[in-house]
Structure formats: C-alpha cells, structure tokens
C-alpha cells in the first residue's frame, strides 16, 4: 500500500463536480483507493462517501492506494486533488 498527503487548495473544497471526477478515475483501477480526512476514511469509488468527509479549503487529506496498479492510481488521483484550484 502506498500513501500521499495532499492539501485541498480549492476554495470550494472537494465539491460535487470534482468528487464525481475522482470517482470516475478511481473506478478505472483495480486497487482499493481511500481518502482520509482526520479520523474519517472513505472509499474513493463512492461519491456519497467522498462528499461526507467534507474536505474544505485548507484540509490536509491523505490518499492511499493498495493493489496491482496502485502507483498509477495514486499518481493520477493525488495529483488531480492537489491541482484543484477554483
């Protein structure tokens, strides 16, 4: 399993539109992908769960991936979240 820390820079936070993009990305991979905000840890393949972690501007998130394609999965998703800016 590999992990990476990302800072939510977007003013709007991880809102519905980027969350649905994260889900679409996560579903391409076999690996189990999770997003962690403090004590909340959720499956990145569920939009409902991603929205419930309530990631706002300035939230420090941890993304983990575990499985055969974990490297590519983590790279794509963590980079996407880190680059969100609106």
């Amino acid at each position: 399993m590999i992990t990476r820390e990302v800072l939510m820079k977007s003013k709007a936070g991880l809102h519905a539109r980027p969350a649905s993009q994260v889900v679409a990305m996560a579903k391409k991979y076999e690996s189990k992908i999770t997003i962690i905000n403090g004590e909340k840890e959720v499956d990145a393949k569920s939009i409902i769960k991603i929205l419930t972690i309530g990631a706002k501007e300035g939230t420090q998130l941890v993304v983990t991936a575990d499985g055969a394609d974990e490297v590519a999965a983590l790279e794509e998703i963590a980079t996407f979240i880190a680059d969100l800016d609106e």
Binding site: A16, A24, S46, L51, G54
Partner: protein
C-alpha cells in the same frame, strides 16, 4: 399590493407573471414485508430502476455537470448496498428499502457543519425521488399545468425539476428552502433567470390567482400590483436590460470621452485569480499588483522561484502591461513569520520601501523574480511610500545589481523595464517635479495620500469623519502631481479607491489623469461613465473644483453639477 423583503437572492433580474404553486407530491410507500422467495424479485426490480436512472442521467449530464454528480450518486455502491441489505436482511420491499436508505444518507449530510456539504442532501433526495418515481410507475412533471407566463413557487425545487422547466413560460421562481449555494440557485444564475431561495413560508402569502413581480435587483417580491405599479416595474426591467446590453457592448470599446480623449482603465489585483478576473472584465492592464499578498499568505518569505511563477502567470493572464508594487508591509500589514519591532506610530514607521532598503536579501529576491518574469510580458516596477530621491536612487542601484547578476547568469529579462513610484506622501507631492525626472511613471495612492495629507488615522473612529478624499488639499495635491508628471513627459495613474468613485471620475479625467486602476467589478461602470462625459467640460469642472476652499463647497458643487 403587498411587498415582501427577501434576504437570499439566487439570481439577479426582474421577472413577472402569474404565481404557479407546485404542490409537494405525496407518494404512498408500501410498508409491507416481503416473503423470502420475493427477495430476488425485489432486488432485480431495484437494479433495473438504477440502470434506467443512470441511463437518463447520463444523457442529462451532457448538458449540466450537476447531473454528472447525480449519475455517480445513482451508481454509488453505498446506496445500492444499503438498499440491497434492507431487502435481503430486513425483508423490506424495494420502495420501502429505498426510502429508508435515502433518508439515512440524507441525515448524514444534513448533520454536516459546512453549508455547501449540507446542501448536497438535496442532490441525494433528488436521485432518490427519480428512482422512487420509477419504482412506483408515476411520472414526475410538476410543471405540466403551465400554459402562460408564470413565476413558479415551491417549497423546494430539485435540480431535476429545474432542468425540466420550460423557460419560455417560467420567468422566475421562489423557493422556501435552499440556500444561495444550492444547485437550483446555481442553475438559475447560469440561465439568467431571476430567482429567490429560502423565502420562509412564502406559499402562505400566495395562491394561483396571485400576480407576482420578482424584483431581484432590490430583493423584493410584489404581490398583486396595481396596473400603474406593474408599469413601473416593466420600465425598471427594460432599463436593467438596456443597462446590461450597454455594459456588454462597451466591454471591448476604449474608455474614450465624447470628444475622443482616451484614458486607460486598469485593474488592481492581489493574485493570479484576481488577474484572470480582471482580464475577463476587460481591464487594459494591471495598475497595481499587490505583491504583499504573496508574502502575507505564506509561512515564510516566498522564494524567488515562487514569486517568479506568480508574476509570470499573472502577466501572461492579462496579456497587457502589469505594474508590480514591491513589498508594501508594515503599518497595519504584518507577516506571520517575521517579528516587526513595536512602534509608537506604525504608519509613520518602518514600512514599505523603508523595509526593502534595509532587508536587501528580501528586496533583491523580489527584484530578481520580477525581472525574470519580465521576459514574458510588459512588467513595470513600482516602489511604495517614497519620500525622497535617495530612496529612488538606492532602489534603482539594487535593481541594477540584480540586472548585472542575471545578465552574468545568462537569464532573460526586459533590459528596459520601467520603474515608477507610488505618490502617497506629502513629500512626494511637493517634490513631484524632481522625482518625475528620475522615474518612468507615477501612480497616486489616494488611500494613504489622504491619510498623510490630512493627518487623519482612518482607523480612529473619533476622527474618521475628517478623512475625506474630496478635501481641497487632496484634490490640489492630485492635480499638482499630474501636472508635474506631464511636464516631465511621464504618465500619471491612480490606484486608490478614488479612481473608481463616480463623483471623482470627471474631476480626475479633467485633471488629465492617464490611467485609472480600480477593482475589476467597477471597470465597465466607470467606462460607461467616461464614454458619456466630455473632456472639455471635465477640464472646466476640475479647474473650478480645485479653486474651492472647503470639502463642503466641493461636495455641493459636485451635487449641483452632476
């Protein structure tokens, strides 16, 4: 007639029409337990409904991103698994299981702290409703009865419902629930439909016989107006439409007076995002890039590369000249990572250029970053709070050193980069003629200039009424600086709030100000104003105003002449 004041406007404009009240649909959900043998039938029923909903939302998603999120919700394992479990383990039928599953998820969202995430409960409900209608075999079309132009009044409108509205007949809407960040509010704005959200108990005020006017300019709802009142609103609505059209039309036109005197309208910015907004608003340049935000929103002094990236991205985003003001801190602006000495009089203390000329490393890091970015667009450097020629010369000497370094390193920059100063101290006003010979431009900072010229601390409640940029001393200072600049053949701009003030614009124009820099949102309004003025008349006005001896006389004169 009855007028209701409202607080939450979702979207601007004026709309009128007969009220059309959407009654909440009441569905009877069967609460019958199912036999074990029926479990697989109910599971399949639900799976088929999910599939249908996903297909429908897939089509809608092409039109609106909101439905892309709805599609993900419909496909979501959390929802599907919860429903499947309630069917298999609790022996509930598909409808009952769906209702409970949706309610549980909705409760989870409604308990969240942040308004944005709380409002996502509405999206979950909407998807649940879409599925439930399919399970029950009913059609959801609350607007089927609309035959004429109406204002829709509802307890709440889901994005799905909003998307099915026929906007040739629905002129606006009012909901009792929802906030300004709800998806229906966002949709109303993107479609330019006047709308109010969160108007508590509004359905008690109206019936389908009520005629409604939504004045979403002044945040008022008018019920049953007289024909005369209605005609007033028709007039107001036409004026607003004409005004909007005018602003749109002049966006790409120059700020020229009726007698063809052209000035430059620039924007003030503090970040790359601000610069992008300025470009969209039609700014012809950035008259003040407040570099201090790069320092204030950081945990340490920003590195040369960090600054270079920000300046480069900004000048590329505007594609026009950009004036970067070097670090302007001290006074009321501190840094979280640097201890400033305690001072009796911070505004008369160690601030702006005075700090830069002492902290050479910090200043040169910034100058190098600005120089490097100048290879990518027209950048100008501006020193803040200058009071003497010595400061200008010292700063320029450091700038020359930085240029030498970069040249030796083979790094590209604009060899002829222009350097100017802020005029915001009485010393700079009095010595403007001398300063003008050694700089490429002036920019008048009216906020500080007013404070220093009148010796008034703006933050001090007791004397804040004495702070007045229309004071003859301030007006004459501005006039003097413009004349001094022009005598030396350099441009004079202004980057204080005064440059965007309606009453000040004709005076400044008449004094011959070359460049007006203001917040992006004011640009089109000021441009419309300038395009309606005559330069010759403004020159007369400016000369007469400068001859008046009290602030009161100035204000009275402006009142009677504009």
């Amino acid at each position: 007639m009855k007028k209701i004041q409202v607080a939450n406007r979702a979207s601007k404009g004026i709309a009128m029409g007969q009220a059309f009240i959407v009654e909440p649909q009441k569905w009877t959900i069967s609460k019958e337990k199912i036999a074990e043998s029926a479990i697989s039938v109910e599971q399949e029923k639900f799976a088929a409904v999910v599939e249908e909903a996903v297909a429908e939302l897939g089509v809608l998603a092409e039109e609106s991103e909101i439905f892309a999120a709805h599609k993900e919700i419909a496909e979501d394992d959390t929802l599907k698994e919860t429903v499947a479990m309630k069917i298999a383990e609790d022996g509930k039928n598909a409808q009952w299981a769906l209702e409970e599953a949706v309610n549980e998820i909705v409760e989870m969202f409604e308990a969240m702290e942040d308004e944005y995430f709380r409002e996502r409960a509405a999206d979950i409900k909407d998807v649940g409703k879409r599925m439930m209608a399919k399970l029950l075999g009913v059609k959801v079309d609350p607007f089927s009865g609309i035959k004429e132009e109406v204002i829709v009044v509802a307890q709440d409108l889901s994005p799905s419902e909003t998307a099915t509205m026929d906007f040739s007949l629905v002129k606006g809407f009012v909901t009792e629930l929802g906030g300004t960040t709800s998806h229906v509010a966002i949709m109303a704005r993107s479609m330019g439909i006047p709308a109010f959200v969160g108007v508590m108990d509004f359905r008690k005020e109206v019936t389908n016989d009520t005629y409604l006017i939504l004045d979403a300019l002044d945040k008022e709802i008018v019920c049953d107006p007289t024909p005369f009142e209605k005609s007033e609103y028709v007039k107001k609505s036409e004026e607003y439409a004409a005004h909007k059209l005018l602003l749109e039309k002049i966006k790409d036109l120059p700020a020229a007076t009726t007698d063809k005197h052209v000035v430059e309208l620039y924007a003030n910015a503090g970040s790359v995002a601000d610069v992008k907004q300025a470009a969209a608003a039609g700014a012809e340049g950035i008259g003040l890039f407040r570099s201090e935000f790069l320092y204030m929103e950081n945990v340490k002094f920003p590195t040369e590369d960090e600054q270079y990236e920000a300046y480069k991205a900004s000048v590329e985003a505007i594609g026009h000249p950009m004036i970067i003001r070097t670090l302007d801190i001290g006074g009321d602006k501190g840094l979280p990572y640097y201890m400033f000495p305690e001072e009796e009089n911070p505004f008369l203390g160690w601030r702006a250029i005075r700090i830069s000329l002492e902290l050479h490393d910090v200043f040169c890091t910034q100058l190098r970053a600005i120089l490097r970015a100048s290879a990518y667009g027209k950048i100008k450097i501006m020193y803040p709070m200058v009071t003497s020629l010595r400061e200008i010369r010292e700063a320029n000497a450091l700038l020359a050193e930085c240029k030498d370094q970069l040249r030796a390193e083979g790094v590209a920059f604009d060899e002829d980069i222009e350097c100017g100063i802020m005029i915001e101290t009485p010393a700079a006003v009095m010595c403007a003629e001398d300063f003008a010979k050694e700089v490429n431009f002036f920019s008048i900072g009216t906020n500080d200039l007013t404070q220093y010229m009148l010796a008034v601390d703006r933050g001090n409640q007791r004397i804040s009424h004495l702070y007045h940029s229309f004071h003859p001393a301030v007006l004459r200072s501005i006039h003097h600086v413009i004349l001094a600049g022009h005598k030396a053949g350099i441009e004079v701009g202004m980057c204080g709030e005064f440059a965007g003030e309606e009453l000040a614009v004709p005076i400044l124009l008449g004094m011959g100000l070359d460049e007006f820099s203001m917040s992006s949102s004011e640009i089109t309004t000021v441009k419309a104003q300038i395009r309606s003025l005559s330069f010759e008349e403004c020159q007369t006005l400016a000369a007469e105003v400068c001859a008046l001896s009290t602030t009161k006389d100035v204000m009275e004169y402006l009142d009677s002449h504009m």
